[in-house]
């Protein structure tokens, strides 16, 4: 029984720590859904490996407040992302958008894949042309 009390008490303690976004939720579930989607896509620049959804740095809460305000004003997701990129750059978004500056990020993996495939093909072709002389001798 004592153990259970401690267990429940501990759970209550950690659950307060989990509540990072303490703002009011939207009445409109559609808006709430968009809000949660956007804050999970935006990098907290103060704490760079977290999204502003996961961070309780004041900058993250300021940005959540601004995003909330823009959603209430009826801004589209694109307009909100534009707002953030204009101020903090492409780095602010976890999935940077395809633009001239970020094109290399999206294209590079494809280039590496094609390059690797070409190299592999060449090696395989060359080896297939070689006479098969390394088979174990009969009866060995």
């Amino acid at each position: 029984m004592k153990l259970l009390t401690i267990g429940v008490g501990f759970f209550l303690l950690i659950s307060t720590a989990l509540a990072i976004d303490v703002g009011q939720s939207f009445d409109d579930p559609e808006l709430q859904h968009r809000y949660e989607k956007i804050i999970a896509e935006v990098r907290c620049l103060k704490c760079q490996n977290q999204t502003i959804k996961d961070s309780n740095a004041f900058l993250a809460s300021d940005l959540r407040r601004e995003i909330r305000r823009m959603l209430e004003e009826g801004k589209t997701d694109e307009e909100i992302y534009d707002f953030l990129v204009a101020r903090y750059g492409d780095f602010a978004l976890y999935r940077p958008r395809t633009s001239g500056r970020t094109l290399i990020l999206w294209v590079a993996p494809m280039i590496f894949l094609v390059f690797g495939a070409v190299v592999l093909l060449r090696i395989v072709r060359r080896r297939m042309a070689l006479p098969i002389d390394d088979e174990p001798a009969e009866g060995a």
Partner: protein, 176 residues
Amino acid sequence: MMSKFMLPLVAFALLVGMFVVGLNLDPSRIPSPLLQHAAPEFAIPSLHDANVLVGSASYANQVALVNIWATWCPGCRQEHGFLLELAAEGTIPIFGLNWRDDRVEALRWLETLGDPYVASGYDVDGRVGIDWGAYGAPETFLIDSNGIVIHKHIAPLTREIWEHDFVPLIGANKAE
């Protein structure tokens, strides 16, 4: 036989080159998209008097510095001495954006350490800081006389950085 060794060697050299560049970049210094663009315009209550509005009009048509600071920021304490020197030299007006701070604490700071600012805005909820793309004080912006951001420095300002990064830009701007 040459080519057999050349390709991996070139690939390796490229990789080393990428590491040399990549590992020397500081990920906490994010290039500002504001560079070479118009600085944000704003008018917010003054730190000294909540009824007075200060902002971009305080340094309009001048080459100026906008310094984002707060009393919770150790780097701001570090650069404060240099800002005072700079203000005393009178070469450039410095606008202070007091960011996400406490008014009483901030005023006490200026009173005890000295006030290098021509005007100080009190950005209590960080709204103006966001427009400047601020993410960690101290941040210092150099604005030309047309209101264009021509340089951003993140981290405490020192005499060396000032001479090296700011002075040439100011000279070029004034010569135009």
